[in-house]
Amino acid sequence: MTQTTMRSAGMTSSRRNAPPALEVFTTLAVRCRVAFLDRHPGVTSWLLVLPGTIWMMLFVGIPLASIVLFSFWRSGFAGLVPDYNVENYAALLGGRTFWRITLWTYEVVLMALAGVIILAYPAAYAIWRVVRDDRWKTAVLLLCIVPFWTSYLTRTITWLPMFGREGVVNRVLVALGVIGEPLEILLYTPYSMMWGLWSLYIVFMIGPLYHSMTKIDEDVMSAAAMLGATPVRTFFHVVLPLTRPGLMAGSLFVMVLGLGEFFTERVIGGAQNPMLAGLILRQIDIFQWASASAIAVTLTFLTLVTVSAMLRLFDLRKV
């Protein structure tokens, strides 16, 4: 290619992409920016977190601050009245009902957590150790996740035809002669609520546990076996300690989701034992926005305390 042709080709390319002046300006700007960021490395970090911070401020910080503010106002029939007082908190914290419901909420969440751990450990362990083929591992993991492609509401309501008086379980048990009359304990009881919660939350435990298990070095497992440890001993002395990060991550998910739970209690728990989040809705139903805000703030505070306590037990950054 001759020099003239090359110059001509270069000019064509330059015209096609950007005017030379703009190209020069862009290059200079990039160099200046790089030089600036080199001299002030802290700024890069700030710039990186800026979009997320703005987003969180707009859609989490401001609404949360508003709810805190409203919790000190008064509910009028035609809206909130900015009449600052602490009566909402005094009425809430001074009554036995709130503490009874709070205690019940923690009871439910802890029972849900215990059940989920007991169910999820064997499942995750089986996927990790028993299923050897990677394709099958993926398939089984997918099976665990597939129900979560449907909405939370659908998954909860599904229990009604399963456990109702005329539901699948009762019909099968009656047909097999195991029971004479349909069992009513299967629906609209605290037990039925628990089964619902386990099914809803189990995937949040299986995932982190399985992830933790896959990080265990195969040599460690071999060493345990060579030293004569039975599978049970290996599980309790090797697998369990090494999967603590997954356990903690899963527990955090379950605790946070459980503390905000209201729908399962309403739909399959028979709505006879409200939890804290449900209490908020019941206040809103009769326009008591201020006291609903006070409950929401208290629930947020309790959740933060719970999460902080869990994080003090284990540093999640190790996961």
Binding site: F77, A78, G79, G95, R100, R165, V267, Q272, F287
Partner: protein, 437 residues
């Protein structure tokens, strides 16, 4: 009239129109349908009046945006409104509290009308989000039932002043509406006659140990204590002055009574929404519940033997209405919508759900239809308003006609209207005590 309601045969249409005009004797509606058998020409005085099948009004630039419950904001209603008026119509279906909350939070600007329960409408009126509607703009109101105009009418509560106090800016002069009544009814007990094997005649059945573990009650801090108070008052179980608006002491008595029953295992479940109550009754999870008329009708449609009780203590009454947003840019469409809801067709559509229309204009449509009676002996007016085979509440099973008898029977047996109590906050507090007990 077909199931869709909009597909009216020519003969039925002519008959309905003429009956309507004659029934009303109203000049404004007299010319509703001037339709010859051969020619399909319609002279309408107002855009919301009926239009023969196949005809569609030319489109206008107005757009009706409404919000309400699924029972009143239905696609088939909005499409018929569009067809008749040419106004575009869109609706949002939501719950009673969310719709009020949305409006109070500034969302009223997105709507022209609000279709809500009268006991919550004061929240919008007091917040000055609504505009008064001159009575002369609502033409079918000339055929209003006296329950909504006369303080001496059957069913009117002289103590609370309901329903008049929530309808009118000034109940005495009755010149402007705060809320135009759209449909109304009263609540009672839905029960599975096949399982209970007797007729329920008292609210007390819901707290009767005989039905322990078989009862469902509504999760509502106002309504449930309300019927319980009425039951206790009428049976001299407590000193209660007003069961619709209790003092703290009276409410304490009622809630403590309910808590005692709950701890004894009386209640199988606490239902929260319409569909849930239908499912619970239809599946036999519960045998009886404080219920709504359409719930029972829906359970019946599933082939289940379910009845609606005529309680000796009386029914709990309510009405829904249409209110118009204060700054609506589609005022004429909103006015037309209010008229459309009262013209008769709309009222006839909701009658098979168990609801009553505040104007008698629906009668012509109902008299032209026999959908509710499989044997074709009674027309829909006779079935839903006159009670079918007798004016009396129906005993046993099967029944032919309305469970609770005629309109007159039902409205002569009202316990109270569902007003918003003075101390709703305390109702909520004590209801939470009940729930967590």
């Amino acid at each position: 009239m077909s199931d869709e309601g909009t597909q009216v045969s020519r003969r039925e249409f002519v008959q309905a129109g003429l009956q309507l005009g004659a029934a009303l004797g109203v000049s404004g509606l007299g010319g509703l349908t001037i339709v010859g058998e051969a020619g399909a020409q319609t002279k309408r005085q107002y855009p919301w009046e009926s239009l023969p099948t196949g005809e569609t009004a030319p489109p206008t630039k107005l757009h009706l945006r409404t919000i309400g419950l699924g029972v009143s904001v239905q696609d088939r209603f909005l499409r018929e409104f569009e067809r008749r008026t040419g106004h575009k119509a869109t609706g949002k279906v939501t719950g009673l509290t969310p719709m009020i909350t949305e409006w109070l939070a500034g969302g009223y600007r997105n709507y022209d009308t609000n279709e809500t329960n009268a006991n919550r409408n004061a929240a919008l009126w007091n917040a000055k989000l609504l505009q008064p509607i001159p009575v002369e703009k609502v033409v079918p109101w000339k055929a209003a039932r006296d329950l909504f105009t006369n303080p001496k009418a059957l069913g009117h509560d002289e103590v609370s002043g309901w329903p008049l106090v929530e309808i009118w800016v000034n109940p005495t002069t009755q010149k402007e509406f705060k809320l135009v009544p759209q449909f109304f009814n009263c609540d009672s007990i839905g029960y599975r006659y096949d399982l209970i094997k007797e007729d329920v005649t008292s609210w007390g059945s819901l707290v009767d140990p005989k039905y322990k573990g078989k009862v469902g009650i509504l999760n509502d801090s106002l309504l449930t204590p309300g019927w319980c108070a009425g039951y206790m008052k009428k049976n001299n179980l407590a000193q209660i002055k007003r069961s619709d608006n209790m003092t703290r002491k009276e409410l304490d008595t009622v809630i403590d009574f309910l808590i005692k029953r709950k701890r004894e295992g009386q209640f199988r479940a606490i239902w929260e929404d319409y569909g849930q109550c239908v499912n619970m009754l239809a599946s036999g999870e519960i045998w009886l519940a404080d219920s709504w008329n359409p719930v029972v009708e829906d359970v019946k449609k599933q082939g289940v033997v379910c009845k609606y009780a005529f309680p000796k203590e009386g029914f709990t009454a309510w009405f829904h209405g249409v209110a118009i947003a204060k700054d609506t840019p589609n005022l004429q469409a909103a006015i037309d919508y209010v008229n459309f809801c009262l013209e008769g067709w709309w009222g006839a559509q909701v009658a098979p759900q168990g609801y009553y229309s505040p104007t008698t204009t629906c009668e012509a449509y109902l008299k032209a239809s026999k959908r509710s009676d499989s044997q074709g002996r009674f027309n829909d007016y006779e079935w839903w308003y006159l009670g079918g085979e007798s004016e009396e509440p129906k005993k046993g099973w099967p029944i032919r006609g309305r469970d609770t008898g005629s309109f007159r029977k039902r409205w002569s047996n009202v316990m109270h209207w569902m007003v918003w109590p003075d101390d709703a906050d305390y109702y909520a507090k004590r209801w939470n005590d009940f729930l967590s007990a």
